[in-house]
Structure formats: structure tokens, C-alpha cells
Symmetry: C2
Subunit: 408 residues, 2 copies
């Protein structure tokens, strides 16, 4: 008989079993890799820039030719060519010479700085007049100034955001290796459940968990596989679990884990493989009857039937390890700092998570208000932006207290 675990121990156990597992890598064109997780270290293949280049539109010069120049004492320079974008100049800059160069153009041999076009004058006499002095290196980025060949730039586990996408393109990576999405099967158990499109006949309960957990998996980049509603009997649930395990990397089973007459999930998970169930019961409210099993290396989680409880448990105990299995270096926190706008009592003796809605106060700060505890499921789902943890030993939360809101 497994003892009820503290939330910290539960997270630890789950991480011990699955935290080192990674999905396989796949190679994608970079434009398909937005939001994906790098499965390889990215090194620069070359010096960048590959050549000394101008950062402004202006004139490439020998900086010393401009020393002492001003609006009233302009430096007279002879243009000996024009630099064109994408071309290597076929001329050099000698003493007293210059060449028009656009932003990004390659510095001609002999030049070591660029006078911005705004600080020059062209009186049409065949010369360019610099109205300002520049130091050597002004408005120039040198070969390798950005990155040197071989430098490690992006590490395995980095999520590809727009800036990483740009860096990959700049470094000449048309394809990139990323971790595959974790395929997670979702089973809902309960004889009372009907699918979302069933009409309300008076006593039925819709299968909310399939959809909320589906979305929760999409939110972390996993791929939900919906197996729908399974009857609450040994044969049906066993068959459904085996099918899901054969097709997915992990399985979520909601319902069938409460102190009720239909609790057989623990037994079915244990029967499905080794080592079996390693966690049953976590000292949190809601969600105490949470089950975690290791079936030949695949995670199987038993979640509560109530959708808000099921989602809490998924969010706190399941999603982090799934993100780790998809290679993320650090869990995308999806948390926000806020201030409680009301007192919340708590005397449950368990770590408690309460749903909160967020508003912006007059001073621009984020306020968190508890969603009324007697609210029904739909009201809670429509109002909750996330939830706040009340530690086991705390008496509750005070109005004005700083909290971390875990976004839904």
C-alpha cells in the first residue's frame, strides 16, 4: 500500500522515473521549426561577418584622413569607386580617397572606417567633403566581430523563438534537428460520461477532460491522441490502456481514481507492465487520489475525474516532466507575479491550489482574485486564469500578499 506523498516527493519520484527520457530527434526545414526544441548544439560554421562591412550608408575612408575635419574645415576626399551590395570591391582606398558604401557593404582594401553620408557634402566638383572626423573602426563591423567560426551559439534544449529562427538563418542552417513531440494518449473513464456532442438528457456528464487535457498538451507542444470514453470495467479499461500504450509515448487516464466503488485504475496500470504504479495519493487539494505508473519506461498517470482537479494535477505534476522529455532545458514557466486582492482562508492541512482570475489594478500591477469555491465547473473554467499554491502550513493567503500565479 503506497503512502500518500508530499507534493515535493511526488515530483521527485516522477522525475526519477521519466526525467532522463527524451523523445527521438527529427530534422525539419527551419521554417517549420518555430516553437520546437533544439536537439543539437548549433555552432557557427564561419566567421560572421565574413568580411569587414559598413553599418551605415556613407563613405569608406582612411580614418586618419578625416582627423580635424569639421563643418567649417571639411576634409576633401576623392571618390575612387562605389561599393555595391553583395560584391567585393575591385578597387582600393589610398590616402585622401573614399568610396560610397551602403549599409552592409564590404569595406574596400585600404579603408578602416565609414563617414556617415549625413556628415558629407557633394558640391559636384568631383570630390566628397567630410564634415566630421571619425576614429578608425567607426561604423564598421569587422570580420568575425559577430561570431567566430566554431563558436557554440545555441544549445540543445533551446526553444526556437523568432530570434533563434533568425540566428539559424543568419548562420546558414536550412534544416535543424529538433525533439519530436511527445504523443500522449488521453482516456476518460466513467460510465456516466458522454461525448461533447451528446444532448443533455438530464443525468449525463460530458467528457470535459478529453478536451481540456488535449489543449493542455498542445500548450506544451505535445501531441494529444484522444481515445475517448472508456467504460468503468476491468476489461474495457485494460484494452484501452494497452491500445494507447502501443501507439503513444505516455497515457493520461482521468476518472477512476477516487475513493469510490469503481476504482480499479491502480490495478490495471500495475497489470500493464513493470515496474507499475509507484505513486498513489499526493497531499494536495484538489487531486489527492493521483496515480503515477511506469510501464516499461512509459508514463501512465491516473488523474481525478473532476476536470478542474484533473487539470491542476496535470499542470503541476505531469506537464513539467513531459516538457523535459521533449528536451526543454528549462520548463517554460508560464507563471506570473501577482498580488492577492482578497483573503483566502485555508485550514486543510494539505498543500492547496486555488483557481484565481487576474485583473490589472489602477497602478498597473497584476491582481489575483480567488474564483469562488462553490462555483460550478463551467464558471470556474470561464473565469480562472491560473492558480495559486497555499502551502500546507500556511493559514491561507492575505489580501495584498505577493503570490506566483501558475497560468492554466
Amino acid at each position: 500500500m503506497l503512502a500518500v506523498a508530499s507534493p515535493e516527493d511526488a515530483l521527485k519520484m516522477i522525475d526519477e522515473h521519466f526525467g532522463a527520457i527524451r523523445t527521438a530527434a527529427e530534422e525539419l526545414p527551419i521554417y517549420d521549426a518555430y516553437g520546437r526544441v533544439l536537439a543539437e548544439d548549433i555552432h557557427s560554421r564561419e566567421d560572421v561577418p565574413a568580411f569587414d562591412r559598413s553599418t551605415m550608408d556613407g563613405y569608406a575612408v582612411n580614418a586618419s584622413d578625416t582627423f580635424g575635419a569639421s563643418e567649417t574645415l571639411m576634409a576633401m576626399l576623392k571618390p575612387v569607386g562605389t561599393v555595391h551590395m553583395g560584391e567585393t570591391p575591385d578597387f582600393t582606398i589610398g590616402k585622401g580617397e573614399c568610396a560610397y558604401i551602403p549599409t552592409g557593404g564590404r569595406l574596400p582594401e585600404g579603408s578602416n572606417g565609414v563617414v556617415m553620408v549625413e556628415y558629407t557634402e557633394d558640391f559636384g566638383d568631383g570630390y566628397i567633403y567630410a564634415q566630421s572626423s571619425i576614429a578608425p573602426g567607426a561604423n564598421v563591423i569587422y570580420r568575425g566581430d559577430d561570431v567566430k567560426e566554431g563558436a557554440l551559439l545555441l544549445k540543445t534544449g533551446t526553444v526556437i523563438r523568432p530570434q533563434e529562427m533568425g540566428a539559424l538563418a543568419a548562420m546558414g542552417y536550412p534544416k535543424v534537428k529538433v525533439f519530436q513531440r511527445l504523443k500522449v494518449g488521453i482516456l476518460s473513464t466513467g460510465d456516466e460520461l458522454v461525448d461533447v456532442d451528446a444532448p443533455q438528457t438530464g443525468s449525463v456528464v460530458r467528457d470535459v477532460n478529453t478536451y481540456a487535457l488535449s489543449a493542455g498538451l498542445c500548450a506544451i507542444g505535445a501531441e494529444p491522441v484522444r481515445y475517448g470514453i472508456t467504460k468503468d470495467d476491468h476489461a474495457s479499461l485494460t484494452a484501452a490502456l494497452h491500445k494507447a500504450l502501443s501507439e503513444c509515448d505516455a497515457v493520461l487516464i482521468s476518472g477512476g481514481s477516487s475513493v469510490g466503488t469503481a476504482d480499479m485504475t491502480h490495478r490495471i496500470i500495475d497489470e500493464a507492465g513493470k515496474p507499475g504504479v509507484f505513486l498513489h495519493g499526493v497531499a494536495v487539494k484538489p487531486g489527492k487520489p493521483t496515480i503515477a505508473g511506469d510501464i516499461n519506461g512509459k508514463p501512465v498517470f491516473g488523474l481525478p475525474g473532476h476536470p478542474v482537479s484533473a487539470y491542476f494535477i496535470y499542470r503541476i505534476f505531469v506537464a513539467p516532466v513531459f516538457q523535459k522529455m521533449m528536451g526543454q532545458l528549462t520548463e517554460q514557466r508560464r507563471e506570473i507575479a501577482a498580488t492577492m486582492s482578497r483573503n483566502v482562508p485555508s485550514n486543510h492541512g494539505r498543500q492547496e491550489y486555488i483557481p484565481v482570475s487576474l485583473t490589472v489594478g489602477e497602478d498597473g500591477s497584476t491582481l489575483a482574485a480567488p474564483v469562488a469555491t462553490k462555483s460550478g465547473l463551467i464558471t470556474t473554467l470561464c473565469r480562472a486564469d491560473g492558480f495559486v499554491c497555499i502551502k500546507r502550513d500556511a493559514e491561507g493567503l492575505r489580501r495584498g500578499e505577493a503570490v506566483t500565479v501558475i497560468l492554466f
Copy 2:
């Protein structure tokens, strides 16, 4: 000749032209609607719950039969049936009677409260003994307590997150209307540009903008359509723009908008339709030479060639109106509060945006450090988490100053 606009005026003009436009709606199964924006108001189609139900496992009773009960003076109740999940009880509860009821079970006629199973005893003598009194309504959620039929629950413009997905399922919505994704064409102009898979020959510049902007569009739920690199001549750019306009809802053109010898973007956008270009030049650094045009109701933006500048302008001036066009009630802010970890001087006389990298300080606060201004493109892209705005009249930012970081 259009005057350079302040950032506030630029945003206002862009919003005036496009802020009222919406993409068409499409109907999707809800499990495909994660992250999409509701294009319809969602009302409850029924009372929820549709019947009075128990929130605990226990016994349905007349509350008055338990008044005065305690562990030493238990109330004796006769079980007259068992409530099963998903079924309407076919018996009633009379005085002194009870029935086992699981969490979520329907209250039998005649009962008005539930004693939790933990507060009962079954001595095997045919009676159930309640050890605690309950008030009427204890552990019960009444019909309509959650939502009443016809109540407006989710408004047009709401982004579907996991909680909204759960609410839609609970309310019996197998399908939902959402705004279509905005199709945005991306053109990169510049004779010096080569595609990402071109080898570095020494003078070429890779087309970073196509990829960074692609990812930036994915980040807001838009659909990028990549047209690649266009040569810097009137005929090529005109043909490319016309093709993009015929296939997309909006177009981004990067490069070709600086004070250079190849600036014809303004003219080509003007020639493409009416009313044409309404903005050319915004008093921001980087990104001053920004162009916005209205081509028969379709937005066409001319962005700088430098990828960090192009992305800034996209992020600040383009993405918000695109999100509005896809129906979002409020722009997903994607901002974070932070403290500057270093001074940043600024004396440019223009509103300036500087890229910053974020770290977490010892006290858990978020720190923003400027990415060195002479950093090259790749270094900036690999280090920047977002950027901070320095207002035109500010002298810069001070170490310790509170700032808002606009995430990349």
C-alpha cells in the same frame, strides 16, 4: 512628402486603416481550436448542472434528520437505494431515509443534502449512522448553480486556452466558430541577399528576415507565406507584390526602405492600389524608414533591411494590428516586468528600443541587461529575450529602474 510620424501617431494611423477589419470565420471541431480566437459569443444552452448533484461521495439525506447528530449521538438512517452515476434515481428519500450517492450523482427526490461518507458508519445492521449534522444544501450543487440557460459565458475575441476548451466541452459545443488565420506574404528585397542554404562566398548576406518574420507571424497565430528574395528593381518587386497581394491578406516587404540608392518601395506600394502609402518614417530607433500602405484595404508594410530593426518594427507596429484583425479582444501582451541591471545612455532624440537579455536575480526578480550595441546580428539574436523602450525625452535608463520588456 510624408512627415516622419511619432510612434503614437504611427500606431494610430495604422489602427485607423486596418483596426476594424476582421478575417472571416471558420467552424472547427473544438479539439482543433486550441489557441484560436472565438468568432462567436458562446451562451449556455442549458442549466448546468441539469440536475441537483452531490459534490462528495456520501449519503443523500434530509438535512433535518441529521440535526443534533454527533459521534456520540449518531443519527440512524435507513438506506432505501443507491444512486448510480449517470442515472436518475427511481426512488425517493423520505423522513429518516438515505441513499448512497457518489460524487456527481443525482440527488433523489426528497433529499436536500449529502453527508460525506467519512462522517458515517455502517455497522452492518441495515442502517447507516450519520456522525455529523449537515445544513440543507451541504455538499450539493443545485441545478443551474453553475450556469443558467442562455447566460453569456465566452465573448467573441476570446482566445481558446485549456480552460475555455474545457468550458466549451462542458457546455456541449462539439464545434466552434473561430477567426481564420491572417495570411501574410513575406518579401525580402535586396540584390545582395541569398537564401539560407547558400554557401558563404565572402560577400553575400543571407535572407534572415524571411525566417525571423515567419516565426514572428507564427507567434501571433498568423500564417506566413514566404515569397523569398526579390531583386531590387521596379519590375521584379512590382510583380512580387502583386502576386502576394492576390494570394494574401497582408504583405511585409523587408529591405528597400532605407535612404539608399535602391529605395523604390514607397513608389511600388503607391502604384499597387488606393489609397496607397500613408506612413513613411517613424521617429524610432531603429527602424525610422518604416513604410505603411493601404492597398484596397490590405496592409502592406515596408520594413528595414537589418533583421533586428525589421523585427522590432514588426513587433511594435505591425503585430498588434494583425492580432486585432484576427479578432483578439486584447493583444496578448507578451511583456514582462523587469529591472535594468545596468545604465543605458540615450541621446538620440528619438524613441529608442534596445534589445535586452533577461536573467533571474538572487531575490527572484527579473533583471534586464542591454545586449551590447556593437554586437553583431547573430550575437544579438542569440542573446536578446526582448527589448525595452527608451522614451524620446529620457536621458536613458538607470540601473535599478523598473522597465517593461517587450518579449521578442
